[in-house]
Amino acid sequence: MVSFIAGLLDATVQAATVLLLAGMGELISERAGVLNLGVEGMMLVGALGGFITTVLTGSHWLGFGVGILLGMVLALVHAFLCITLKSNQVISGVMLTLLGTGLTTFFGSGWVEESIDGFPQMTLPLVGQYLVDIPVIGEAFFRSTATDYLALGLLLVVWYFLHHSNLGLEMIAVGEDPEMADTMGVSVFRLRYLAVLIGGGFAGAAGAHLSLAFSQLWVPGMTAGRGWIAVALVIFAQWRPRRMLIGAYLFGLLDALRIRSQSISLTLGPDAPLAGVVNPVVEFLMTPQIMGTYPYLATILVLAYAVIRTKSDQLAVPSALLQSYSRETD
């Protein structure tokens, strides 16, 4: 049982990192008022680009960097379409996901057989060797890849950046009311580009982490909807970095459970009362496909709760999300 929980936690941490990285990028982009539904595509591009680079150079850090860069390239397209050309953010985002999926399936077909030396599991310097010995959670949390630690560190950076820096304040302002920001001398255009590019970089990093640290191989479509879960995660977190940490681990846990659902038996014994009713229901709820919907269901619940609890004007969704801005057309 202990080993099962330890394994589950280990898988949770690994799954959470992907969501955390992609989610942080989405969070920054949305706080500046630009919805990025291209995360899934950007992750795939980052995953394949990072993988190929690592195969060719042997350096997983170089691969990670290339992954980030490719995510940003795709994000640049999104930024150009949505900010400069003021086209519809939803359409552009979905189009980029389709594009990313298509491109990586085509160009990645030859790399499926390859194997790499990805990010090794490591312990933190100095205190790491002791932390690992903590029962149950030690191995899961303190023997991880460098990118797992990096993601947690970046969360702190993102939180600080958004809430304790001028650029962050300006970014939030641009996402709340671009016209207001403009009248205060803040460049809406530049800040939105910056936010979308950072968002793409994070998505690329999430993809690279997936292929270089998580699975250490390349499979077409390997993101398997995690980009969409990242979008849901931002809503779940109500656009706040701190809640994103909780959400990422919760969703990560659900993901880890889903993968292991076959080996979990929660059914009642045949003699237990109501076994005939309960068991089929439990079995249904534990089907991997049904479990895959849990993150979305959780998001819906959180959203409903937030709407019921607070008046809509206090809801954390950036007021100018999806709105393009130009000066002389009001």
């Binding site: 304790h164 001028n166 304040l169 300006e170 709340e176 920001a181 001398g185 004007d313 206090q314």
Partner: protein
């Protein structure tokens, strides 16, 4: 031109597709004065000021500030030149604090990085390094020092503002003071105020005027955009009048009469008095009994209201805003649920029916908030004009719509109600119309369908003199045509000029009833503020045909 001139705008030309918003406008403002910019809605006042603030760029013309030619590419340039603007719609982010709103864009670094920090552990040489300054300005944020400065400014000018409060917690008057603080924080010499009193109560407006006078005492120059003549009298030193994008003159306020200004503004003589013919009252079109309803926060806003309106009667409802007028209007229009009571229109009991049923029973409604409830901003004038009638089969065979007929209908409305600024009824969006013209469009839609009952909530608020005149005349015409009208207004003059019967609402109840002929203004004022209710059961007078009945059943 004198040595005191601080701002000169010369030959400003600004064209939008199909419209010349500013047609070679000149404007000069002297140091330390409050300069009024007067004009009807759509006269080009806001456009001119947006050019001055760098939001729009002019097609021709020059701007000089203290003799120097300004080239304003963006608001940043205007701010740098010492120009501040308080916009008509507040430019504040409700979710952020006062201080965050004020310092936005100023790049205030964390306190340790401030050049003027006294007890910073960082050596001055490092703090003064321009790279350090730039990085600290981007990647850190210190609100302590700015908050102190904002608080000092607020205290200096007598603003009661908590700088660490979130903006959504403030009332409208306070929000406006935050807007002014935004400009003061940037050390502006010239402050533009775009219709600052539009959102304020009379008391708040008085406070604003006091503040503005203190600002000019400090040497600030103020441009005050308005279309209210009373405000020009109250506060402005010199006034420039714009009409249809052109400057029609600048004058010392002390040397011109209100009537002259009105004529300059509208281009013809304006009648301040209205002729109200006698009309015979017909059958009751509305019978409301013991109506109760709650406001948006679920607090009871109407506590048992009885109201009867007859054909050809205008019932004026006076009261200080927030005493249930909004809820009353919404209940009568069918868009707010009643929690008790009975509502009959033309004898049909439609209590609790859908808004659509109200519409079908001949109820028309001019809401207080034109943009939010009166129209669909992003839809065309045509869609808005036909919004209430497209279902009734007059525009082609259902379920199909004949767009040609819709268009003709909309064009008729636009023409008959003199709605200006419509280049094409199918292209022009309702939200692009100026306040007065949008109001005329809404009124046209509501009246052209020959309603039995018309509820007009603040129909002339925030619209210009010409449109006010038009709207009032239209209401009187409609009264003559036999419509029963409920007129809710905070403008007592309007109530007196138009109503057959006046009801005063206070805390969700009618506390006083009278007619314009026998009304005593002081008494009404007292009743509006709840000061007249202490003489027992006498508060409700009962003239003939009174809609008010005390007691359980009439």
């Amino acid at each position: 031109m004198s040595e005191h001139t601080t701002l000169r705008m010369e030959g400003i030309l600004k064209e939008f597709p199909g419209v010349v918003a500013n047609d070679h406008v000149d404007l000069s403002v002297e140091r330390g004065e409050i300069h009024g910019l007067l004009g009807e809605n759509g006269a080009g006042k806001s456009t001119l000021m947006k050019i001055l603030y760098g939001l729009y760029s002019q097609d021709a013309g020059d701007i000089y500030l203290d003799g120097e030619r300004l080239d304003l590419e963006s608001p940043q340039d205007a701010i740098a030149a010492g120009i501040g603007m308080v916009h008509q719609h507040f430019m504040l982010i409700p979710r952020l604090t006062v201080a965050e709103n004020v310092v936005l864009g100023e790049r205030e670094p964390a306190t340790v990085f401030r050049r003027d920090a006294e007890d910073s552990w960082l050596p001055a040489a490092v703090r003064n390094n321009s790279l350090v300054q730039s990085l600290a300005g981007q990647f850190s944020l210190g609100l302590d020092v700015p908050e102190q400065r904002i608080q000092d400014l607020a205290d200096e000018y007598g603003f009661d503002i908590d700088v660490s409060a979130k903006v959504w917690e403030l009332d409208v008057g306070q929000q406006q003071r935050v807007e002014i603080l935004k400009a003061l924080y940037r050390d502006v010499d010239l402050l533009i105020l775009d219709e600052p009193t539009a959102v304020l109560t009379p008391t708040e407006a008085e406070r604003l005027f006091d503040s503005l006078e203190r600002l000019t005492d400090e040497g600030l120059s103020i441009i005050f955009i308005t279309h209210k003549l009373t405000e020009v009298d109250a506060i402005v030193d010199r006034v420039t009048v714009l009409r249809e994008g052109q400057n029609v003159g600048t004058a010392e306020v002390s040397s011109v009469s209100r009537a002259d200004l009105a004529e300059m503004m509208v281009g013809r003589e304006v009648l301040f008095e209205i002729d109200r013919e006698a009309v015979d009252l017909g059958d009751p079109v509305l019978r409301a009994r013991e109506i109760r309803a709650s406001d948006n926060r679920d607090i009871e806003a109407l506590s048992g209201i009885d109201l009867t309106v007859r054909q050809g009667e205008i019932v004026g409802i006076a009261g200080v805003s927030g005493n249930g007028q909004k809820e009353l209007a919404e209940v009568m229009a069918g868009i707010r649920d009643v929690t008790g009571g009975k509502l009959e229109v033309n004898g049909a009991d439609i209590t609790g029916a859908k808004p659509k049923t109200f519409v079908e029973n001949g109820v028309s409604f001019v809401p207080e908030d034109r943009l939010q409830y009166g129209c669909a901003e992003d839809l065309s004038v045509m869609h808005n004009a036909t919004m209430k009638d497209f279902r009734n089969g007059r525009f082609g065979d259902r379920p199909f719509l004949d767009y040609g007929e819709l268009r003709d209908y909309a064009e008729t409305l636009v023409e008959e109600f003199d709605v200006r600024g419509v280049s094409d009824v199918t292209e022009t969006k309702a939200g692009d119309l100026s306040g007065g013209n949008l109001q005329k469009l809404i009124l046209a839609r509501e009246i052209y369908r020959d309603p039995e009952l018309l509820i007009a909530n603040q129909p002339t608020r925030g619209v210009d003199v010409g449109a006010i005149e038009f709207i009032r005349e239209t209401l009187l015409e409609q009264r003559k045509a036999g419509t029963g009208i409920i007129l809710i207004s905070e403008d007592l003059d309007e109530i007196f000029d138009l109503s057959d019967r006046i009801l005063v609402v206070y805390e969700g109840e009618f506390v006083y009833e009278t007619t314009p002929a026998e009304a005593d203004r002081e008494r009404i004022g007292l009743e509006m503020t709840g000061g007249g209710g202490d003489d027992g059961g006498e508060t409700v007078a009962s003239p003939p045909q009174s809609g008010i009945t005390q007691g359980s059943e009439s």
